[in-house]
Symmetry: D2
């Protein structure tokens, strides 16, 4: 886990807009803590699907999540659109650490930020493998 | 439950765009059956929040869901944006039946359609009450 | 959609206990309307997995949900365990209609009840097919 | 964030059994990474609700989640029951850090483990406050 805080929009390389949902709100009327992680993997997987040949359904090599964390700074509520910024913080041989920031519409300071680590695995052999070249290339494009 | 099928975009009065999420996909790679209902109440509550004084957190009178149904016609998958159309099919004294249609981007024929019934209730007394005037007025604006 | 109301425990053939979750609660402090459908397919799929050779991941023939509905009679809240009763209401050649009832611990009257329709499909050909024999046999065991 | 790894059942003070759900499974047939966090706050909130006067709906002082993290060691799949162990790792004046471990039935080694930090806040003033005495007392009972 890196301790570096990525708090501003300028810390991120690529953004996705996600519409909040009524059920995202908890009993306090704020997006619940769990839902942020669904924003995280929605943004990261969209980047991978659109920029690599990764196909979660059939690819022999896939990225399994081995770690995630989130720091919650200020509340967000449905309804509304949020922007999710992603960046590659660390690129290893078999794994990648993404930084993710969740921003309210038009705000520059993150409402929440965190990390997500994908470890690449040969699905049938269940063994760790190097990040495939075409994925590596796409990850480098959003490397910090 | 009305048997009338609202299959086309022209059957609906008001639309909301919702971004699909990675976790919406099930083991078959399609949006799972449950998630459609989260599209339903996201669209309906957004209409109510934006067009009436309804405040889910503090309003003394709120709409409780007493019935919902959905018919699944064709699969949708993350990633992508869907359009959710809503219309008021039936307006009673204390309850309202919404029709909802879920459309893939640029498709005119619904991928799924269903109903959602709100019954208005005095929250503290837990008693059925007439639909408040300002909500009734907004519901009439999208009456079929 | 059948109009028959299955309101009592004695209307169901098989029960599963499900633990409620903190996030099941909505802003009103009750299990939200969507979550009931996750109870429905958790119970039905568990019956199928435990009593047939159905394997959602690899089976060439799978059951797709083509319709679902739910009637909400009284609120349930986390924390606590609920019992979900299932029964086969209608058994066709290619599809099955389940009845489902959600019961609070020790209550005989359902808090919610609804239906769920599986249509069996050849996954690769995407064509409707007769319910496989071993599944048919298991479904008959919980036929109303 | 503490780096201490709590990997065994004996590292935890209190356990809750949670039934997995069909929708917990992702496209790979394993519980998806997000759902673990719903296990976390289901277990922690159940402990607080059962052992303190905390009432999420009406209490003037509530615990907001300010940080969470999870390390995923081995896959779990629906159907089945999991055990969630909790322990208080760090008890500050205004916040508490819980350790959480997710265990498969009868396994001693965690499938996943992580942390969850509650910061106590006066809801109307939105200001950090000391942990109320009766909650502090209950948290001490599961202090590592």
């Amino acid at each position: 886990m890196s301790e570096e805080k990525l708090l501003n929009r300028s810390d991120y390389k690529c953004f996705y807009s996600i519409s909040t949902r009524w059920t995202d709100n908890d009993i306090y009327g704020h997006i619940n803590n769990i839902t942020y992680y669904s924003y995280f993997d929605t943004a990261i997987n969209q980047y991978l699907i659109e920029n690599t040949s990764l196909n979660m359904k059939d690819s022999p090599i896939v990225g399994y999540v081995v770690h995630s964390n989130c720091n919650y700074l200020s509340g967000i509520s449905y309804p509304g659109i949020i922007d999710v910024g992603i960046v590659v913080k660390k690129l290893g041989t078999t794994s990648v650490t993404y930084g993710i920031g969740v921003f309210k519409d038009r705000e520059n300071r993150a409402s929440a930020y965190g990390e997500f680590v994908h470890s690449f695995v040969n699905r049938s052999k269940k063994k760790s493998v190097p990040i495939p070249d075409n994925i590596l290339k796409s990850l480098k494009q959003i490397l910090k």
